[in-house]
Each structure stands twice: as C-alpha cells, then as structure tokens.
Symmetry: C2
Subunit: 131 residues, 2 copies
C-alpha cells in the first residue's frame, strides 16, 4: 500500500493535509494519545489513526507504549530534510536574480528586452467558443 515514494515525497505529502499539519502543531507542544488528537476534530478515531500512520510512515512521529495507550511523539529532525531541500533551490534562484540584476544594471539602458518579462497574468478570458 503505497510503500514506494522517496522520503522527501512522503514528508511533503504528509504535511499537505491541514488536519495532519494541525496534529503536528499540537504535538509540538507535547505528546498525545490518538484519542486526545481525535477529540477536537469531527472525525472518527480510526480516521485519525490513518492520518497518524501517514505521519509515522513519513518519519514525522513515533509511537510509544503506555499500557493500552500508544502515545504519539513528534520527531522534529525530519523537518531538516525539507528545509535543506527548500533552502538549496531558494538560494539558487535568488543568486540567479542577483546576477541578473547586476547584468541589467551594467547594461546601457534600452537593451533589456530579451529576458523573460513574465507578468503574473492570470489566464485572459478569451472567448470560449466550444462548439
């Protein structure tokens, strides 16, 4: 069952759900049981248990044991996986920007035509003449 997927994908996917993010947020304040976690939401405990499995598969949480309870604990180190990935490309893109600025700055004006002039254009409402 979806055993594939590299670690990074699993972590990102795990955090792509608001419920799961909220659980992580609450776990950052302290460990909790499945029941505790389920209480605030309008969901069955089983649903929460599934979410928990996703988080555990991503390495974001670990499960303990305390009698019939299975306390959930946040493993914060996995965050590093994401931050290093993100920071790498963010920095790369920013550097590129800076270089581009330098080039433009060092240019006799009026010659900055070719570089992409991407404007945030949401799609223009052209006539949708579906037949």
């Amino acid at each position: 069952m979806a055993v594939a997927a590299d670690p990074l994908s699993r972590v990102f996917a795990a955090l792509a759900d608001p419920t799961r993010r909220d659980m992580v947020a609450r776990l950052a304040a302290g460990d909790a049981t499945v029941g505790d976690l389920a209480r605030p939401y309008d969901l069955t405990v089983q649903a929460i248990s599934k979410h928990l499995k996703v988080l555990a598969d991503a390495g974001l949480v670990s499960r303990g044991r305390d009698a019939q309870r299975r306390p959930v604990h946040l493993e914060a180190e996995v965050f590093d996986l994401m931050t290093t990935w993100i920071e790498r490309y963010r920095r790369e893109a920013e550097d590129r920007y800076r270089r581009l600025d330098d080039i433009l700055a060092a240019m006799p004006d009026g010659t900055e035509h070719s570089e992409q002039d991407h404007r945030h254009e949401r799609q223009d409402p052209r006539d949708r003449d579906r037949h």
Copy 2:
C-alpha cells in the same frame, strides 16, 4: 479543479511529487519552456503541462508569454510560507525538549512519572543542534 485547499496545503502537495520537485530544481537554474521541461522525462507534454498547472496553482511558478511559447518562471518567495511554518514547530518542539531536559536534570532521580514524558523506542532527542 480541486480549487479548495489552503495555500500551504497546495505548496506542500505540489512538492510531494518527485517530478515536480525536479522541475522546480531545474527552474531554479533558469526559466524554461514546457517543451524544455518535458524533454528529460518519459512523459507527454500534456502531463508536464498538468504538473505545471499544479505548481502554478500553488504559486510556485508563473507563466510568461513569448510568441507561441509560455516560459515558466520560478517564484521562490512562496518557499517562505513553508519554512516559516516548519521552523515554528521545529523550534517549539526543540524548546520543549530543552525544558524537559532541565526538569529531569533538576530532579532527584526515580521520580519521573505522569504528564507527558513518554519514552519512545527511538533515539535520544537533544543530540544534534546545528550543522
């Protein structure tokens, strides 16, 4: 569609796919067209176009226009959304660890008990800090 979903979820979900992450990585080095992006993969251009739509909906890329080409440009600022979220809870969890350590250290041994100080099968926290 899937128009719903908060911004954070969209960004995380967008990066939960290795192909999409790879595209972002390549876009960090410079803008590209859909065709350029599609070339290295064993996928149809339409599939790449779909991926691109996901990235665009997440605000990670913007589209330009250059004749019949639609150059793709990486919008690196959106990364901040994620990093601030991540850093917040990482820090929170780390602080909690530190406080817990202090408490345990200041305790006459053998008195650990209730509240949340569950011991988990996994390794000791507080080993790594920076690198």
